[in-house]
Amino acid sequence: MDSLKKALPWMLWMWLTAVILGAFLYAPAAVGFRGSSRILFFHVPMAWVSFLAFLTAGVQSLRYLYGGRDRRLDRSAAAAVELGLAFGVLATVTGAMWAKVMWGAYWNWDPRQTSILVALLFYAAYLALRAAIEDGEIRARLAGAYAVLGLVVAPFLYFVMPRMAEFTLHPEPVVNTAGKVDMDGKMVLVLMASLAGFTVLFYWMHNLCCRIQDLTDRTTRSRG
């Protein structure tokens, strides 16, 4: 078990290297997108990870508030939000770069651009709230409640925004409403590998953040 833990970062590193090579050398460029479609192998996993991170933060906050008030759950939620923000900003920036190439403008208020922007604002506010409270117990309680409120409001963004915009230029998700995959087989393979790699990357980073937090807490407490 211990050796597996040590091997994990190396396996992850090799896996992601393979994904990068695959994205540029193995997968073909999508017809009509020139080379720009290759950003998909990184942009989509980043957006996915930020979604996953915010979901994790919400679930951990729920568990904190209604399942025994274990402070580690609160720290885990905060770490997930920090990582989710980082990946969310990356997804937004890569998306904007691609939008400049394909649509001619960095920002078009496309429904997905709007919803990720509001999500980023929300979780930035979450961190601002945490920074504004000194007492650890109060901070955990209030930030937890706010994160759960985020879970409640988020679906409205996803349902309301697309209807408001009436149309979107955003390419269909890999698994769209029709349930069919509309992409070259090699591209799907690389994308899936990248999604898996990024998901593990997120959980590895999240684990590191939580452990660092635990250690910092312990040292400050032992110093009194």
Binding site: L65, A125, L129, A132, F156, F159
Partner: protein, 214 residues
């Protein structure tokens, strides 16, 4: 709870007078900035509902956080924790916020319509939009106000935290108001707005005990 809120309010008349004045001043600023000619008719029905709801949003941000901040500052929060159950307290604060918002809407809507020269094709629908939108504003901001009351830099934090939460509501309320002005059917926006109100109320009732009780 509700009665207590109003008794406190009537003693100082802070929220009503200041908020009313704040909303009116913002309205004047918007109107003056648009100039004596205002907008063209076709632009007006598209843009004016947006400005109207933004005025309301900022008035709410200026006034409603006080409901909880004042309890913490005057150190009556502890007495309240003993005297009332969290859910009755939440409902009381929500009802208070709701009446303040309705009073505000009743004050500025006619003035806004008159100054901007707006004609309403479906007045009933407009009132419905104001009621349902106002309720959502009250429910969302009551919970956020309860959260920020125990933090530092309360005023700024309220705006930062409440706006992402209230954004879906704002977009839906603007759409409803626009439909009411044009006399179009309210359609799916109304049901989504009602759903939002319901979801935020349930979330508020569920989360408030965790926010309020140490």
């Amino acid at each position: 709870m509700f009665a207590k809120e109003w008794r406190c309010e009537l003693r100082t008349r802070y929220a009503l007078s200041t908020l009313g004045l704040f909303a009116f001043t913002t309205l004047v600023v918007v109107s003056v900035s648009l100039g004596p000619l205002g907008l063209m008719k076709s632009q007006g029905s598209a843009v004016l509902p947006i400005l109207f709801w933004i005025i309301l949003l900022f008035s709410v941000a200026a006034g409603l956080p006080r409901a909880f901040v004042q309890e913490e500052e005057s150190q009556t929060a502890i007495a309240l924790r003993l005297a009332a159950t969290p859910s009755s307290l939440f409902c009381g604060k929500l009802a208070y916020g709701l009446t303040v918002i309705f009073a505000l809407e009743a004050l500025i809507t006619p003035i806004y319509m008159a100054i901007m020269g707006l004609s309403v094709r479906a007045p009933g629908q407009l009132i419905l939009a104001l009621a349902v939108g106002g309720y959502g504003l009250a429910a969302g901001s009551t919970l956020v106000a309860a959260i920020i009351a125990q933090a530092r830099s309360k005023g700024t934090l309220f705006a930062v935290m409440a706006f992402p939460v209230l954004l879906p509501l704002l977009l839906l309320a603007i759409e409803l108001t626009r439909n009411a002005l044009g006399g179009e059917p309210s359609g799916v926006a109304l049901s989504q707005l009602l759903l939002y109100d319901g979801a935020v109320t349930i979330a508020g009732l569920m989360l408030f005990p965790a926010v309020w009780n140490p």
